[in-house]
Amino acid sequence: MLAFSVFGATPVDFLTFVIAAAIVLAGAFGVVFSRNPVHSALSLVMTLFGVAVLFVEQHADFLAAVQVIVYAGAIVVLFLFVIMLLGVDREENVDVEPLGPVQRWAGLLIPLVGLFLLLFLAGVRDWATGTPSARGAASGSAAGGAPNVDLLGRSLFTGFLLPFEVTAVLLVIAVVGAVVLARRPPRAEQAEMLAEQRALDEQLAKERDAELVAEHLEGRS
């Protein structure tokens, strides 16, 4: 027992939280503000780690592990793969199709307002008003010393059995989807496809021009 507490927590816990939160936020800002997508992806990893720390801090050990392995290990790598594959690992050219001031400021303002509204609604501290322990303890100590993994696994195979089964369907879809999307068309079709694509592009361009002209005329009339 330490002699003092900060906001009802031990200094260690508090410090852990502060540092993790800083990492999380820094990573998040990194994602948003990096010109280069690769940097964004790396910043994302940072955030994910920070979140994992916060998971641990809240007795979600298994989830923290999964967070690091699945998120940081698989998902972000997938992102990096795609970035490399497409060759878009360059800085964004902000002059092409600029955002416009409305989007920029509204994009900032609206989420901020939303945040404040949410905080107001929660009254900052009235968050969890629900009935505690409806299903079973989350932490080991409260649940009679069972490890977090046990609790989670038990819950998955009893109360959440069907959702768990449904995730299988999700993964099948992901596989099939990935195959469908990423599959290169047969060679025979490829030339034709390119020609068609070109024709399509041309037609789309033409349509766009016609639309522009029409809009122009409409605007004038």
Partner: protein, 501 residues
Amino acid sequence: MIAQATSPLGPLVHPNVEYSNLGPILALVVGALVLLTVASLVPGRRGRGFYSILTILAAGVSLGWSAWLWHFIDQKGPRFAFANVVAVDGFAVFFFVVIAIAVVLTALLAEGYLRRERLDGPEFYVLILLSAAGGMLMAAANDLILVFLGLETLTISLFVLAGFHRRRAASGEAAMKYFVMSAFSSAFLLYGIALVYGATGTTNLAGIAQYLSRNLPTSTGVLMAGVVLLIVGFGFKVAAVPFHTWTPDVYQGAPTPTTAFMAGASKAAGFAAFLRVFFSTFGALRLDWRPIIWVLAILSLLVGAVLAVVQRDIKRMLAYSSIAHAGYILIGLQAGNERGISGALFYLLAYTFMIIGSFAIATVVGRKGDRAHSLDDYRGLAARRPLLALTFTVLLLAQAGAPFTSGFFAKFYVIAAAVEAHSYAIALIGMLVAVITAFFYLRVVIFMYSSPEGDEGEVAPRLPVPVSAGIALVATVAFTVVAGVLPGIFVDFARHATLIF
């Protein structure tokens, strides 16, 4: 076994697993897996017609099972299953039926389309089946988590389906837009679930309702924020203004059979969850969410109708009109009474047929490349394909709410519910918007029945109607007319599709 024995948590109690309760869903999933297996076993490009037949078979089994379930529920009453995460009630079965029908129609439609666009393969059908399974899960879900998973199952398949036409740039764009917007809105939905979970301590719908009935929440802030975010998530799914922005682009860009499925099944599933969660679970908060739905409904009606007026692309126009349709169904929800729910259900049933039928026409008229969707492409359709034009006319008039079509009774039903709930203003606005919608439906009719402009010398390109698409069209029109003349049985169906609580 050992873990069980040594666990401090006591013995593992397995939930009562009765897969028969989810037969309609399983039929689809099994169908998808069989399809994948068979397709990988049959070499080359043989047996392609087989895919659609298998799909229809699976949907047929699903329908049959639904019928059995309906009977079963009728006899034994509704029940929860799978540790209370699933509600097996008339409401769910109703949506099983609607979605299965959408699958059948889409499969019929896709057959000719995929062949024409040389996109054939089992994947389209597999994804449709899995997506539909997700939709059905949403309808039956009694847990917000399952709602979310069902929704994602439905949606992620649809991303792929939207981008299925590899050679169309628009298809890719549609997929991408749908993907980004959907992910964005899913995040809101999920956050909403989180807040509701925090506020009530459970994600189980019945549990939440119980909680609400026991504790009149002292500080409803978080709960209401959660509810609002749920509205956003569902509103996105059913394309209610202002969460509709993806709809026109995606409907226009996606391959037309996908659009049909999206407009039919996906919207139905979205409404299934919407109705169940709000009518049943948050029924106690009715006074809080009804005004929001009121605004959403009116916005959807107006924006959908007004924007449809200025469209020249049929698919886009139908997209906007489907937004207006969503507005009508929201009127039913807004009424917040029994008639409102059954009205919304009847509307969805009628709407599914109408909208899939309409997109079926667009599929056929779209021709190779899925491109001929301009209003001008419909000019003189009546002269070339009188029956096709007549079919479309019936479907459009039904959408406009012409009497003796299902569309009339659909509108009538929800408006009646609104009037019964004394929401006269919204009833009136709904009817007035029908005037605007009639305008653009009629415009299409006029184009179809006017003679082609100028180019008489040029022989109009042939417009083949695949047999399967023909069957789909006949089915949709038949339903539209039968439900318009003898709405009794369908009204019964909708009325008895009651929620479990």
